[in-house]
């Protein structure tokens, strides 16, 4: 583990460092709270071993500062204090210390505390991994393995504000498979699912790395194209539209081509334009309806 040792007394620092290293851990030293705070931010140690009483930022304040900024990671905090400072120890524990040791530092007590620290640190790692996995699962559509709508609002908000701030365009494209209900009715739901998977994979493979593809609804996909103007978006989406048709997924009731096709509505954010991402989404939806009304298998831009 990485152990950050904080003490204003050089001799005490040397002892703590040697004891920590003897137990096989990495050690970095700080001689006051401020220095420790900077090192904490840079180094993200698993363990903080800090003197309670120091001039300036003391151990209690340091623990509180660490707990305030922690987000996912966890630093096990050990407070060092004199035998006579029980009241201070409790306030330190309330500020976020996990345990305390009395001074002078004793190697055996330190070893015991670091064993607990290792266990807690491991638990937090597992928790983080599980949390990240669950998060990814929750945001993924199980059928197409594309993103689902869960994180969409956050993403659009971020895209919108970045584009606004830097004066960049972006486009939204709503893509809807034509006559999908009749495809399901004709070929069955399993074939429908397979078609959704294939179309979804096609979309994902044809967009730029910076574009995002979401499964927006039943047979509807949303593609966000950051830093893309309308002209480029129309080209890209036409390529995608043709590729879907080019999959040659037979659909007897699917229109003149006899294959599964897709209609696409595009809206564009132009810098300086006063509009919300929700309004842009509604515009793309309207354009999609126009594409359907105009005979399907078309890309139409919002006006």
């Amino acid at each position: 583990m990485r152990v950050l040792v904080v003490d204003d007394d050089l001799g005490s620092r040397l002892v703590a460092q040697a004891a920590v290293q003897a137990l096989g851990h990495e050690c970095v030293l700080a001689s006051d709270g401020q220095e420790a705070w900077q090192l904490y931010l840079q180094w993200q140690p698993e363990v903080l071993l800090t003197d309670r009483t120091m001039p300036g930022m003391d151990g209690t304040q340091l623990c509180r500062a660490v707990r305030d900024v922690e987000n996912g990671s966890y630093t096990y905090a050990i407070l060092l204090s004199g035998r006579d400072e029980q009241a201070d120890v409790l306030s330190g524990m309330e500020s976020g210390a996990d345990t305390y040791l009395t001074k002078p530092l004793d190697a055996f007590a330190l070893q015991a505390a670091l064993l607990a620290a290792a266990r807690v640190s491991r638990l937090h790692e597992e928790l983080n991994r599980a949390r990240a996995e669950l998060m990814a699962q929750a945001h993924t559509d199980p059928l197409t393995l594309l993103r689902n709508r869960l994180g969409l609002a956050d993403y659009l908000e971020a895209l919108h504000s970045t584009s606004q701030r830097y004066g960049r365009s972006y486009c939204l494209a709503l893509c809807d498979i034509d006559l999908f209900k009749s495809y399901n009715d004709t070929y069955g739901h399993q074939a429908g699912d397979e078609a959704l998977r294939t179309v979804g994979a096609t979309l994902a493979s044809l967009v730029r790395d910076s574009d995002q593809v979401y499964r927006y609804g039943g047979e509807e996909f949303l593609i966000a194209l950051p830093e893309q103007e309308q002209g480029g978006a129309v080209q890209a989406l036409n390529r995608i539209r043709k590729a879907v048709q080019g999959l040659r997924i037979a659909h007897r009731e699917g229109g003149p081509s006899g294959y599964l096709t897709m209609s696409i509505g595009i809206s564009e954010f132009v810098p300086m334009r006063s509009i919300t991402s929700a309004k842009l989404l509604a515009e793309a939806d309207l354009a999609l309806y126009e594409a359907k009304a105009a005979g399907r298998n078309k890309v139409i831009c919002a006006t």
Partner: protein, 124 residues
């Protein structure tokens, strides 16, 4: 931490042995570095204590005593640490002795500890 094994020994020999076991495996371990760190800081710490007592104690005395207490305990100067503890508390009216009296006793104890610590180091 018990006071020294012998009433006349100003140092806690167990603590010194512990310091020798830490760090370099040359038989002296961390002892020389830690003792030298203590001895180097000592004049400044003593001066701070004297100033604080002369100026009537209060928070500066508590802080100076606390600092010396920590480093003294670290190198096993138990009697020094104990007197620092009393000095630190003297501000709250705890204990019978006054700060100047405690400082006198501390000065004596520091001289003894300093001498014993120097004697515990390898001859250079």
């Amino acid at each position: 931490m018990p006071l020294s094994d012998h009433d006349d020994d100003p140092l806690d020999r167990q603590r010194l042995e512990f310091l020798r076991q830490l760090g370099p495996a040359d038989g002296w371990g961390l002892l020389p570095a830690v003792v030298n760190a203590f001895l180097d800081d000592l004049p400044v710490r003593r001066a701070a204590l004297r100033d604080a007592v002369r100026n009537g104690g209060g928070q500066p005395l508590a802080e100076a005593a606390h600092q010396l207490k920590g480093s003294a305990a670290n190198i096993g100067a138990s009697a020094v640490a104990e007197l620092c503890q009393q000095l630190e508390a003297s501000d709250h009216g705890a204990g019978e002795a006054t700060a100047p009296e405690l400082l006198d006793r501390l000065e004596t104890e520091l001289d003894r500890a300093e001498h014993a610590l120097s004697a515990s180091l390898p001859a250079s």
